[in-house]
C-alpha cells in the first residue's frame, strides 16, 4: 500500500475546548489509484490531505506513506519526504508571483532527484508558449496548470490536490481534471483529490466520503466516466 492510515485523529484547540477535525480514520490507498475525498465544508477533507502530505500531523494513530512513518518522522525527515515523494496542487494555485511560469516549475525541479524535462511538462499542460510570463499575466485555469506542472515535474509517487477546480469555471475545471487523469495514467502517480463536488467522483477509481471527521463511505467507483464527460 502506498498510503496507510490507522486510527488517525487530529484535534484543534477551540477556546477552552478542543475540536476533533479527524476521528479514528483508518484507510489504505494502493499505488496508482486515483481517489476522490468528498465531504461538506468542515468535514476534515483538507486536514486529511495535509496529514497525508506531511504538512500537518496526526494527534492520534499512525500514518505511513511510501513506507515512511509520518507520525514519528522528524521535521528533517518530513522535509525529505515532501521533497522526494509528494506533489501538491492547491485551490488557489499558490504560485510565486515574481517568478515566471518556467521558474515556478523550476522551483520544484531544482530540488527533485530525477525531475522530468521542464519544457516537456509545460508542453503537456499547454503552457510552453507562455513559459516566460508571470502568474499575473495568466488566467485562473492557466495558473492552475502551472501549479499542476510544478507538482508533476518531480514525478512524485503521490499527488495531492486540494480543491483543484474550486476556483475555476466549468470548462477550465474539466481541462484540469483531464490533465490529472493523464498524469495518473502516464506516470502511474497515485492521486488523492479533495473536492466537495460529487460530480467529479465518477471519473476516479474510488470515493472516500467524510462527515464530521469520520469516514462515512469508502467505495470503489471504477472510473465510470471520462474527465471530458464530467458535468455539473
Amino acid at each position: 500500500m502506498l498510503i496507510e492510515l490507522n486510527k488517525v485523529g487530529r484535534k484543534y484547540q477551540m477556546g477552552q475546548g478542543e475540536f476533533w477535525a479527524l476521528k479514528n480514520v483508518t484507510l489504505s490507498i494502493p499505488e496508482g489509484q486515483l481517489v476522490t475525498i468528498l465531504g461538506p465544508s468542515g468535514s476534515g477533507k483538507s486536514t486529511l490531505l495535509n496529514i497525508m502530505g506531511g504538512i500537518d500531523h496526526a494527534d492520534t494513530g499512525t500514518v505511513r506513506v511510501t513506507g515512511v512513518d509520518l507520525s514519528h518522522a522528524s521535521e528533517r525527515d518530513l522535509t525529505q519526504f515532501r521533497r522526494d515523494t509528494v506533489g501538491f496542487v492547491f485551490q488557489f494555485f499558490n504560485l510565486i508571483p515574481n517568478l515566471t511560469v518556467r521558474e515556478n516549475v523550476e522551483v520544484t525541479a531544482d530540488i527533485a532527484k530525477k525531475p522530468l524535462f521542464i519544457d516537456e511538462v509545460l508542453d503537456a499542460v499547454g503552457l510552453l508558449p507562455m513559459a516566460d510570463r508571470f502568474p499575473s499575466e495568466l488566467s485562473g485555469g492557466e495558473q492552475q496548470r502551472v501549479s499542476l506542472a510544478r507538482a508533476v515535474i518531480k514525478n512524485p509517487s503521490l499527488l495531492l490536490a486540494d480543491e483543484p477546480t474550486g476556483s475555476l469555471d466549468f470548462a477550465t475545471s474539466r481541462d484540469i481534471l483531464r490533465l490529472l487523469v493523464q498524469v495518473n495514467e502516464i506516470y502511474h502517480t497515485t492521486i488523492v483529490l479533495v473536492t466537495h463536488n460529487a460530480a467529479i467522483a465518477d471519473m476516479t477509481d474510488r470515493v472516500i466520503r467524510l462527515r464530521s471527521g469520520e469516514v462515512e463511505e469508502d467505495r470503489l467507483v471504477g472510473r465510470l466516466i471520462k474527465a471530458e464527460e464530467v458535468t455539473w
Binding site: 522535509t79 510565486i96 508571483p97 521558474e103 522551483v107
Partner: protein, 743 residues
Amino acid sequence: MNTLLKRLPRTIRSNQWLVYGSITLVMLACMLYASLNAMIVDIHESRSRFESESRIESATFLPQKPFADLSSFEHDNGLVIERRREVDASVNSSLTLRVFERTTRVDIPAITAGRDVQTDDEMLLGQTVATALKIPLGTKMTLLGHSFTVVGFAAVPDYMYPIRTTDDAGIILDPKAFGIAVITPAAMDTCAPKALATWHIRTVDGTTATARQALNETVGLTYWQDITTNLRYTLAIVKLEGAASVSTSMPLVILLLACLLLAAAQGRMVRMQRAQLGTLKAMGYSTWELVLQELALPALIALSGSVLGVLSSILTMRPMLNFMLSYFSVPLYVATVPWRVAIIGIVAPVFFTVPAVAVVAARLLGQAPVKLMQATALSTRPGLLERSLHLKRGSFQNRFAVRAAIRGLTRLTLLMLGAMLAGYLLLFGGAMRDSMSTLVRGAFQDTQYNYTYVLTAPRLENPWGGEALTSERFTTTDGRLTFQVVGLPATSTLFVPHDSKGQAIPIDRIIITRALAQKLNLKIGDSLTMQQAATGQEVTLPVDAVAEMYTTATVIMPQERLNSIVGAPLGSFNAVLSATSLQIPTQDVLTTLSMAQSRAAFNSAIMPLWVALGSVAVIAVFIALLALSIVTTLTVEEERFTISLLKVLGYRPEELNRMVLGSGIVAVATGFILGIPLLLASLGKLLSTTTSGISFSLPIRLSPLSILVCAVIMLATYLVSLRAARRKVLGVQMAVSLKAARE
C-alpha cells in the same frame, strides 16, 4: 468598544516582539532626547541664576594706587567693586587649593551643599574637588598651617571652570589636583596676611569700557581682564555650549530616525492586512473609519514609548547632571525635565509616525475593495523591473534569490537604512574608543623630557643643564584661540616632532601640531597669521610641516627665528626642558611642570568627554540593535507565504534561508559599509565642536579591528533576530500559513 478595536490587543499579542521592540526603541530614543536636553536646559538656567545671584564680576583688575574714596567712586560710576585676597595652599603633595576670602558683593560664593562659613575655623570647599576626591562635609583640613572644618561646598562664578593657571600648561582641568576653598576675611588675615589681592568689578550692563577708563583715570591700572576673556569662565561657556549642540542635535537625529523606522514598520504592517481591509471596506466600512482603526497601533506604540521615555529621563537626568557638574563649578538650582522638552519628547514620535502611517493607509484604502481583496501575496503583479529581468544563467536558487531581492527592494532599502543607522551608532562607539586610544597613546611620544621650567626672565646663559628654549604665547587674530609658540634649538633631542609617517621633522622650519592644524583648518603650504599675546604684534608664517600631536595646539620653529620675532636677544631663552630634575634657584623659576602632572591632568581632562560620548554610544548601540531586529522581524513576516510554500515543496531551512532571506545580509552589509563614511564625516564635525576652545583636538580614528568587531556584533544581532523571527514563521503550520496568505 468598537468591534474592530478589539483586534488591537490580539494584534499586539501576535506581534509581541515587533510591538514591544518598537515601544522600547521609541522609549530609548525619547529618553536620550529628553534627558540630554533637560540636562542642557537645567545647566543653562542654573548658570544664568548663578551669574545673577552670585553677582559675577565684569572684570578683574589691579590698581596702581589705592582708592581715595571707593564708595564715592562706585556711586559716581554706578559700579560695585570688591577686593578679594587669594593664596595657594598645598593640602598634600597632590592637591593644591586656591583659598579665597569670602566676598559679599561681587563673585559671591554659592553654597551647593552644607552651609556658609560662620566662624574663622570653617571653610567652604569647591564642589568639583569635593566630588572628585569624595571629601565629605565635616572633614578637617589643614591649610596654611591652620585647621579648618569643611562646612559647605561652594562654587565661585569667576572660577566656573576651576583651572590652576590660564597658560597652556595649566589650562587642563584636573579636579583631583586643584580646586578652590573659601575662608572668612579674618581667617585670611591670620593665615596669609600678605596674600595677593585682586579687585573685582561688576558693572550694571556688563560692559567695561567706561569703567576701565574711569579706573585708569582715578587709580591707574597695572592689570585688567574682562570676564569674557577669562578662561576660567569662557572655557565653561564654550564647553557647555559645545555639549549643548551635541546633546541636542544627536538625540534629535536618533529620535527622528527611530520615528522614521517605526512609521515604515507600521506602514508595512498596514499593507500586510490589505485583504482584510478590502473585506471590511466591502462590508461597508468607510476609508476614514478604517484609516483611524489602522492608526490605533502606531499611535499606541509611539505614545507609550514616548511617555515611558520621558518618565525614565527623570531618573537618568539626575546622575548625568551630577556628572557634568563635577567638571563645571555651577550650583544646580534647577533639576527638572522642562515642560517644553517633555512635550516635544512625547509629541514628536506621535507627530512623525501617525501621519506617515495615515498616508500609507489612506492611499492603500483608496483602492476598490475587490482590488484590495484580490491583491494578496499570491496575485500581486510583478513590477516593471522584475518583468524586464530575464534570468537565464546561474543556479535556480541563486536566480530565485535575485528575484526575491528585487521584489523586496523597498523592504531591503528599509533594512539597509536600519543597518546604516545601526552601523553608524555601533561604529560611533568604536570610533570614540579608537580616537581616544590614539590620543592617549600618542600624547607624549614626541616629548622625551620629564620637566619643564619656565623662567621669570629671558636668560643668555644656561648653567643648570637641560635644553634651553624660547616659549611665547600667541593668539589668533580674532583672539579666539590662545596657543604656545616654541622656539627649539636645531639639535633638540628632548622634543622631537614626528610627521604622520612617523618620521622626525627637522627643526629648521615652521611646524604646527595637528591639534592646531585642525582647529585653524590649516595644511602644509598655508599661512598662519597670529598675534603675540603680550604685545599684540602680528606675524604671518608659512606652514612647512604638521607634527602628529593632538594634545596641544602649538607652533614649533627654530629658536633664533622666534627670538627675532618676539624681539628677544639672540641666543636668549626663557624655559628649560630636562629629563631629570634640575637645581634652578626658586627665584628664577616662574613655574615648573612635570610630565607626570601633565599626564594626570590630561587623562583627567579627557574623562568627561570619554564618559559623555561613551554613554551616548551605549544607548545608541541598544537603539541600533532594536532597529535592526524590528526590520528583520518585519522582513520575515512579509515572506511568510513564500517560506511556507517552499517548505511545503520540500525545501530545507538552510535553503530557505539563502533563497528568501539571503539578500537581507547584502542589505545589512551595504548599510553597515555606507555607515562608515557617514560616521567619519559627522564625527569630524562633532569632535571639533566638542573640543573647541581647548588646546587639544581629537584625532578621528576607526581601526579595522573596531570595524570588524562592530560588523560581528551587527551580524550576530541580525542573525539572532532573523533566527527568532524565522522560528516563529517556521513554527506556524504550513497549511495554516498558506491559507492565511490568500485570506
